[in-house]
């Protein structure tokens, strides 16, 4: 297996779980890591070098809020010096003009700025904090710099009707890319699923709008859309396949095949403080576990699509089927697809699934 193993292409560096926002769909695990457990600048710098040597091209700095790290400028410089392309995935909240200039000067390639909606009231409700107005200021500052900008909107029932306003917002900025990412239901989003899942009618409308905007903005802004997979016919090729392209490092240094892998019982994760990155990639049990096809059950094992979607998402299989080796239940061929249909039926027959009543959100707190 090792002989035909490909290199990891991107390193997702979760620099911290600290964050000024409390988004109700946060992709961080329910058990957040404390500041005192975070890796030092020196260890991260070593990890960037090891990543580049292992073939990684891009580093995605994320969190939490990566700008909560006081050494963020040094970390960017270290990743660039290692030869990596540096993406900063940020809420923009701890940003000011001087900080932005320092990040760009250190070699930052690309800023992915998250918005929680196109309107201030929605955005502030979803993030559990007053954040929207500051993000608009950040957009103006970014115009002064030569750096790529993506606007990222996480899409769900309460903001999916604002897609056109979101495009307008992006059009007034220097963004060359918009990412509409439907909420993925793990961790905090799984807990808030009943309030976040869009209706079928909303999803159908949004697909039309996206198609139209992609055509209209061709050559100006790339519009990318990740469909809500509960409504899809086939599952997403989660992470491009388990242990095939991506590695995620938690704030404390655990190396994971994906954001949510810690929900899968029985997986032991190795730590970059103890072992080199390439060794972990090639040899650690957690990365081997669902690599290739040997772990697959029917119908995946003999399915023509198994090299397209790799059986879907292991964490979703665990959450919905209770078995991480099962076919992702969102797949129309999965034995447990009726369970997903029942969830959707509940969402779509609810008397008024829209915006009149504010849901009782479970907000993500801050770690110690």
């Amino acid at each position: 297996m090792t002989a035909e193993l490909s290199n990891p292409l991107a390193l997702i560096a979760e620099l911290t779980h600290r964050c000024p926002l409390h988004c109700v769909y946060c992709s961080n695990p329910l058990e957040l890591q404390a500041r005192s457990d975070e890796l030092s600048t020196e260890v991260w710098s070593r990890v960037f070098n090891e990543a580049a040597e292992a073939g990684v091209l891009q580093a995605d700095f994320t969190g939490g809020e990566p700008l909560a790290r006081t050494d963020i400028v040094d970390l960017i410089r270290a990743a660039r010096a290692a030869g990596l392309y540096v993406n900063l995935i940020t809420s923009g909240l701890p940003m000011d003009e001087a900080k932005l200039a320092a990040l760009v000067e250190a070699g930052l390639d690309h800023i992915q700025l998250s918005f929680q909606g196109a309107r201030e009231d929605t955005a502030n409700e979803i993030s559990g904090t007053k954040s929207h107005a500051h993000k608009l200021r950040v957009l103006e500052w970014v115009k002064q710099h030569r750096v790529a900008l993506t606007l990222n909107f996480v899409i769900h029932r309460r903001n999916i009707d604002q897609l056109e306003e979101m495009v307008t917002l992006a059009g007034s900025s220097s963004a060359t890319r918009i990412e509409f990412a439907s909420v993925q239901y793990y961790g905090w989003a799984f807990a808030n699923r009943e309030s976040l899942m869009p209706t079928r009618e909303q999803v159908n409308d949004s697909v039309e709008i996206i198609k139209r905007e992609q055509e209209r903005l061709r050559g100006k802004i790339r519009v990318e859309f990740v469909v809500p997979d509960y409504y899809a016919k086939y599952p997403k090729p989660c992470m491009g396949g388990w242990g095939r392209k991506l590695m995620l490092i938690t704030p404390g240094g655990d190396a994971l095949p994906c954001h949510a892998a810690q929900v899968i019982p029985g997986l032991a994760f190795e730590n970059v403080k103890d072992r080199g990155l390439r060794e972990i990639w090639e040899q650690s049990a957690a990365f081997q576990k669902f690599r290739g096809e040997n772990w697959m059950q029917e119908p995946c094992r003999t399915c023509d699509r198994r090299e397209l979607d790799f059986g879907g998402c292991r964490c979703q299989a665990l959450l919905l089927a209770g078995d991480a080796s099962a076919t992702d239940p969102v797949c129309s061929l999965a034995p447990l697809r009726p369970k997903v249909d029942a969830i959707l039926a509940g969402i779509n027959t609810a008397p008024s699934p829209q915006v009149f009543v504010k849901p009782s959100w479970l907000y993500r707190p801050n770690p110690a």
């Binding site: 030869g83 750096v147 900008l149 060359t176 890319r177 790339r222």
Partner: protein, 101 residues
């Protein structure tokens, strides 16, 4: 949309070629593949695609890029070289890797 001949294409912000350690042959051809890094993507370039992107520096005009490549690939039909280059530049522009200054 094909670019104008007098346009000076330049890699868009956040798009850059990976560092090169390679030397060049006497003909001026690049020796090793390089990677065009861009938001959420990477393209492996070699041969003509690399020769084109290396000249997207905001100084060369489209016309100059065409003439350069027609010289380097002198055995290829000049008209074919031109149409391939125009198509490739348009593709990179659509992917937002290129601005036409």
């Amino acid at each position: 949309m094909n670019p104008e001949m007098h346009a000076r294409p330049r890699l868009a912000p956040g798009c850059r070629l990976s560092e090169s350690t390679a030397s060049r042959s006497p003909s001026g051809k690049s020796q090793q593949p390089r990677i065009l890094l861009m938001p959420e993507r990477a393209l492996r370039l070699n041969g003509p695609s690399l020769e084109i992107v290396e000249r997207c520096d905001g100084k060369h005009t489209v016309q100059q890029i065409i003439l350069d490549l027609q010289n380097i690939y002198s055995k290829a039909e000049p008209q074919k070289v031109e149409s391939d280059i125009l198509g490739y530049l348009a593709l990179l522009h659509e992917r937002r890797a290129l601005d036409f200054g």
